[in-house]
């Protein structure tokens, strides 16, 4: 039986308080380094936390070929996003919908690849691009990032939620697999594709280890690697590094604010499976 509003309300608000009590420390924990980064970027080094110095930004931007780093980051991230969305969507469709022998075992083998720490794969990947003569080039930087197992997994889960009747209807109307994929599945999977694109972009934008290994010249380095180089130029210039880091994180924040509606819907839908 339904209880009077008062008791339901108080129980509801207790639940809400508990949620906030648990979430607040986590939120502070998450945002603290970010705030510290912004604050440090505005402080002069000896008097940190006393005199804000906006000049750090101009200093950092002048000390580094910031524009080049930004361009490299953009090319690297966007190319990888395009590649991962395309390869993940086609592979996920095959794993979710096509019938072929050994399909589920093959998918399991892919999932096992998720278990391998990324760092373990850095050396074979480097040897591979070295063999092609692609070290310190866009091809080298991009090629080994084009397939994402977690992307395939994410989209496969989403594709499995799309009713099979839609495909059957299309098949009866004369559509082949490619037509079904492009005209029915892909348009319906837009939230999931947007989620994957945002995740992949953020991942590549923040990527440090692989670009550090795969590039040598500052003409090829993306932002993350370039910012780390500030250490070499000005010993340990925290203010400059933080200023550059703040500048580097802005595109990510813009992207998230633009795409967050899609992003959240995509996460919700794939999590329901």
């Amino acid at each position: 039986m339904r209880k009077p509003d008062g008791s339901r309300g108080s129980r509801g608000s207790w639940g809400a308080w508990l949620t906030y009590a648990l979430a607040l420390p986590l939120a502070i924990l998450m945002i603290a380094p970010f705030l510290y980064m912004v604050v440090s970027a505005l402080m002069s080094e000896p008097d940190s936390l006393r005199h804000p110095v906006p000049d750090n930004f101009t200093g950092a931007l002048v000390a580094l070929p910031f524009g080049r780093f930004l361009l490299n980051s953009l090319i690297f991230s966007l190319a990888v996003v395009a590649g991962q969305v395309l390869t993940s969507a086609t592979a996920a469709y095959a794993f979710a919908r096509l019938r072929f022998p050994g399909r589920d075992r093959l998918f399991l083998a892919y999932l096992c690849a998720l278990m391998a720490p990324a760092i373990v794969l850095v050396i074979p990947r480097f040897l591979l691009i070295d063999a092609f003569g692609w070290v310190d080039s866009y091809q080298g930087l991009i090629s080994t990032e084009l397939v994402s197992v977690s992307g395939i997994f994410l989209l496969r889960q989403f594709f499995r939620t799309i009713p099979r009747d839609l495909e059957d209807a299309a098949r009866l109307e004369g559509a082949g697999e490619w037509t079904i994929f492009w005209r029915v599945i892909v348009p319906l999977a837009r939230p999931a594709l947007a989620t994957l694109a945002v995740l992949a972009f953020a991942d590549q934008w923040r990527s440090f280890m692989w670009p550090l290994v795969a590039t040598r010249s500052s003409g090829m380095q993306p932002l993350e690697v370039g910012i780390a180089n500030l250490e070499g130029v000005y010993h340990v210039s925290w203010s400059y590094q933080m200023a550059a880091a703040v500048a580097a994180v802005i595109p990510l924040m813009v992207l998230y604010f633009v795409a967050h509606r899609y992003f959240i819907r995509g996460i919700e839908q794939t999590a329901r499976v």
């Binding site: 009747d165 839609l166 059957d168 209807a169 109307e173 004369g174």
Partner: protein
């Protein structure tokens, strides 16, 4: 237009499990409105999907007209299907949903526009063409799904429980519309449903399936008046036929008797001795004084329907339903006598098959 023939069609999804369909042979006539009827899991949708080519049969053949289409792709069979879930593409407008099949087949744009408009006019979708499925009511969605099938001008329409998701009033309305459409187009329709009222009101002929097996094919009147077995007798009719289990004795000279619990019922029975099922429709059961008729029973429930009333009875452990005209003055606990219309009794042997 074309006939549809199924020859010993079988389908097994799980090699170790029960077959979904066992040696189904059927002939649907050209232009006929044919219904596949049965409870869920009886294999009716499997049969439809095998006709459509969405499932490949494990054995047997599917013919559309004279053409063996068993191994053909769905698109090559010239059939259109309406799904239980409507299966409209949510990202496309009504217009594009209806046009999808024609676009895929690269029909010229002017011809697509003409056919979409024609289908929309016929189904009253003219004002909805630029909306998306999410903005439509259940009935409108069903009309769009029909439009998508119509516009292709196929030889055979396959309809898989197209009305089951709709509310009862709308269902009755669309039932009439579908029949009108069939009368206008004369296209062969294979219609799947679990709802025997839908089957009886729409089907020119009905095939009753149960657990993958065909039980009976016939017109609504045949299924209702001469059910082939106990399953069909119980399944057709609302409520279904009363089935009393007892012992039958037939002497051969049009005399015989069935003893079941409190009742001793005289019947016409050839030479017979053993377990027997006696069936009688609720409308052929009447109530008399407790000391008259074949025996006495207690009233367990009274369900007035308006023109008729269903009276649920208990005759010494045997449940029995009577359909009486009007609203009789009866209450649970009353004791009444039971009388059966002797000309309307159905007899089934111990295995449930019809006798005579």
């Amino acid at each position: 237009m074309a006939s549809v023939t199924l020859r010993r069609l079988a389908k097994r999804y799980d090699p170790h499990g029960r077959p979904a369909l066992e040696e189904l042979s059927l002939a649907v006539n050209d232009g006929e409105f044919f219904v596949l009827l049965g409870p869920s899991g009886c294999g009716k949708t499997t049969a439809l999907r095998c006709i459509a080519g969405l499932d490949e049969p494990s054995a047997g053949e599917v013919l559309i007209g004279e053409r063996d289409v068993t191994r053909l792709d769905p698109a090559a069979r010239d059939v259109a299907m309406v799904f239980q879930t409507h299966a409209l593409y949510p990202h496309l407008t009504v217009r594009r949903n209806i046009a999808f099949g024609l676009e895929v087949r690269r029909v010229p744009a002017a011809e697509i526009a003409r056919r979409v408009q024609q289908a929309a006019d016929r189904l009253g979708l003219g004002t909805l063409l630029d909306r998306r499925p999410g903005e439509l009511s259940g009935g409108e969605r069903q009309r769009v799904a029909l439009g998508r099938a119509l516009v292709r001008e196929p030889q055979v329409f396959l309809l898989d429980e197209p009305l089951s998701h709709l509310e009862p009033t709308l269902r009755a309305e669309l039932r009439a519309e579908l029949l009108e459409l069939h009368r206008a187009l004369h296209t062969t329709v294979v219609y799947v449903t679990h709802d025997q009222i839908e089957a009886m009101t729409m089907g020119q002929r009905i095939a009753v399936l149960e657990r993958g097996r065909l039980r009976q094919v016939g017109t609504p009147a045949e299924l209702y008046g001469r059910p082939a077995d106990v399953f069909v007798a119980r399944f057709i009719g609302s409520p279904g036929m009363n089935i009393l289990r007892g012992r039958g004795r037939g002497t051969g000279d049009d005399g015989g008797v069935v003893d079941c619990g409190a009742f001793s019922i005289p019947v016409s029975l050839e030479r017979y001795e053993g377990e027997i099922y006696l069936g009688v429709r609720p409308e052929h059961v009447s109530l008399v004084a407790p000391d008259q008729g074949i025996g006495a029973a207690d009233v367990r429930g009274v369900e007035p329907l308006g023109p008729d009333t269903l009276v649920r009875l208990d005759g010494g452990g045997e449940p029995l339903v009577a359909r009486l005209h009007g609203i009789p003055d009866l209450r649970p606990g009353d004791r009444v006598g039971v009388k059966l219309d002797r000309r309307q009794l159905h007899l089934f042997d111990a295995a449930g098959a019809r006798l005579g």
